[in-house]
């Protein structure tokens, strides 16, 4: 089992990059700026933690910036080593190609999660120390969802990287992943459902159910659904419990399937 060795190596390498420090700084800065925007004014001592998270940090930071960072961290994981030649050094040691792909998902996912935690918690510590009623539990929990979303995008991008024989292809793939999942998911799936109307009618599900399914199939909206339920204190309960379960299942799917698909191609390639 050499997956941990590769994961550790990749983690150390990723956290040593200059981009990592910039990322933590950027997250901290944005969280701090948003927190300042929703600061309690006048005699009101109640800090609007939920507003901060679901109105500001959620849409601006988590569902747009975190996926982008995930793609950037993951897209060159395998193809970069392949192009530079360090993959030769890696594979001359006793590692299977599966160890390489999944070790990189773990190592880089962990590095990104660390960046998210550090970036969110530095301003969070200030809020906890400040004389306001800050809901630290909600804030910390939300950070976990943000990190999880980042890990999912790292996994998708690493899978794409493993399937790409060149850095250029991996980059194109990474951009495509971001555009599809973050920018165009609703439009693309809406079109598909519209075009496949007659087929959908034949299925034993309603068009609405299908739309809901497609909505939670997207990792960003899945995390959004879960984190909003968490903030509403209805995680895996209430009216949307089933929807939340499928959202969680889809997140697991997106963490495992793309690296597996990439591995199939990577395993068959001459390097």
């Amino acid at each position: 089992m050499s997956l941990p060795a590769i994961a550790r190596k990749d983690f150390q390498e990723t956290v040593r990059s200059r981009g990592m420090i910039a990322l933590v700084a950027l997250f901290s800065l944005l969280v701090a700026a948003f927190a300042f925007a929703v600061r309690p004014t006048g005699g009101n001592e109640q800090f609007a933690t939920e507003v901060l998270l679901s109105v500001f940090i959620g849409p601006f930071l988590v569902t747009t910036l975190v996926p982008l960072v995930g793609v950037v961290v993951g897209y060159n994981a395998v193809s970069g080593e392949r192009e530079s030649g360090s993959l030769k050094l890696l594979l001359s040691l006793p590692h299977s190609r599966a160890d390489v792909v999944f070790g990189k998902v773990v190592g880089r996912g962990a590095a990104l999660a660390l960046a998210v935690f550090a970036g969110f918690l530095l301003p969070g510590l200030v809020l906890i120390a400040a004389p306001v009623a800050f809901n630290a539990g909600a804030f910390l929990g939300y950070t976990v969802f943000a990190a999880a979303l980042g890990v999912v995008f790292v996994a998708i991008a690493v899978g794409c990287s493993a399937a790409s024989s060149t850095q250029r292809r991996a980059l194109i793939g990474g951009v495509a992943i971001y555009v599809l999942f973050v920018l165009l998911w609703g439009a693309v799936t809406g079109r598909l459902v519209g075009a496949a109307g007659p087929l959908v009618d034949a299925l034993p599900v309603s068009a609405t159910q299908l739309r809901v399914f497609l909505r939670v199939s997207n990792p960003t909206t899945a995390v959004e659904a879960l984190s909003n339920a968490f903030l509403g204190e209805q995680l895996f309960s209430g009216d949307t419990a089933n929807q939340q379960l499928s959202a969680a299942a889809m997140l697991v799917f997106w963490t495992l399937a793309p690296p597996l698909a990439g591995l199939l191609k990577f395993d068959a390639d001459d390097l």
């Binding site: 550790r8 040593r16 050094l89």
Partner: protein, 354 residues
């Protein structure tokens, strides 16, 4: 036991056949020098030993196990210094060796290994700051982790200065004394002559000779090398010389013809040239150097005169391959191959070797 065993191995890429029907056996404990010009298929062969590249046909066995299915176990017992690798720029030299130790589940001391390859003072620097020679030493340290049964070194001396190359040879010798099998490739015979038990010469993907360095020297160097300053020698004259009894190879080097021949054939060579209307300005003889020996196998047609051919098929094929001095197929003619995807072309090496 047999450390390396290739049977009928062929590897074709889209438009190039890098290795052709190769049979190769390296016994346990042997130091084997794998020689050939750039693009002859050495790196492709080594990549197949490491399961980086899968053969089109044939079987590859290393340390008694099938590479295709037991690569993991094989690489636990093998140390590899790859060619054309790069390091992890942000990780220190020590981290690299630690990674190899952890990967191999070995109980080696990274600092002792770094000291052995002369990198003790640079262990904490990021490997991205290392020179080419230092990177080569670092990869060697990683290869030595866990006292491997087999060392595969691809062009180990590249990037090393003469002192570094000497240290590399000393390490190879020490590893062989420990009982390890060493398989290494080079395009320079001088580097391997001193340490190898046996040498195999690869040309255009085929093994054209396999023997001890002494044996190869006897096969070719029992003759003399005649250097003739003959500016006007055309292809016909060269062909006439080559057709003479006792002549094993002719190569043209500018205005000079270099003829490998039996010592009693020297006068025939000169006579034949004069007969063909070539003015012989000067000529002298010398003993074959390792360099000539190598060139005779990789460029000339000495392979056909080899007394211990590695493989009769390969020898036949080498014989039908035109000599570079022929106006025949441009495959062997270096200046004309620049844009062609032949295996002789340096620029094509990367492509072919992947």
């Amino acid at each position: 036991m047999t450390a390396i065993e290739l049977r009928g191995v062929t590897k074709s890429f889209d438009d190039v056949t890098a290795v052709r029907d190769l049979d190769l056996t390296v016994e346990d404990g042997e130091v084997y020098g794998f020689l050939g010009p750039n693009g002859a298929g050495k790196s492709t062969t080594i990549d197949m030993l490491l399961d980086l590249v899968r053969p089109t046909a044939g079987t590859v066995r290393v340390l008694g196990a099938e590479v295709a299915t037991e690569g993991f176990e094989i690489r636990r017992r093998t140390g590899v210094l790859p060619d054309g690798f790069s390091v992890y720029d942000r990780l220190s030299g020590r981290k690299h060796v630690e990674f190899a130790v952890e990967s191999k589940d070995a109980a080696a001391d990274p600092d002792a290994l770094l000291d052995r390859v002369g990198l003790a003072g640079d262990a904490d620097r990021p490997a991205g700051d290392y020179s080419k020679g230092m990177r080569q030493r670092l990869a060697l340290a990683m290869a030595l982790v866990g006292d491997p049964d087999l060392l595969i070194l691809d062009e180990p001396s590249s990037g090393l200065d003469p002192a570094g190359a000497k240290e590399m040879r000393e390490i190879v010798r020490a590893e062989a004394e420990r009982g390890a099998t060493v398989f290494f490739s080079s395009h320079v015979l001088e580097q391997v002559g001193a340490v190898c038990d046996r040498v195999g010469i690869l040309r255009d993907g085929e093994l054209v000779a396999e023997d001890s360095v002494e044996g190869l020297r006897r096969a070719v160097g029992g003759e003399e090398t005649l250097e003739v300053a003959a500016a006007g020698a055309d292809d016909d004259a060269v062909a006439a010389v080559r057709a003479l009894d006792g002549v094993s190879g002719v190569t043209r080097d500018g205005d000079e013809l270099v003829v490998n021949c039996a010592s009693d054939a020297k006068t025939d060579v000169i006579a034949s040239l004069e007969e063909a209307g070539v003015a012989v300005a000067d000529f002298h003889t010398r003993e074959a150097s390792l360099e000539d020996l190598f060139l005779a196998y990789t460029e000339g047609d000495a392979a056909s005169a080899d007394v211990t051919p590695a493989d009769s098929d390969a020898t036949d094929a080498a014989q039908t391959n035109a000599d570079p001095t022929d106006a025949g197929p441009p495959v062997d003619d270096e200046p004309t191959t620049d844009d062609e995807p032949t295996t002789d072309d340096e620029s094509a090496v990367d492509e072919v070797d992947r």
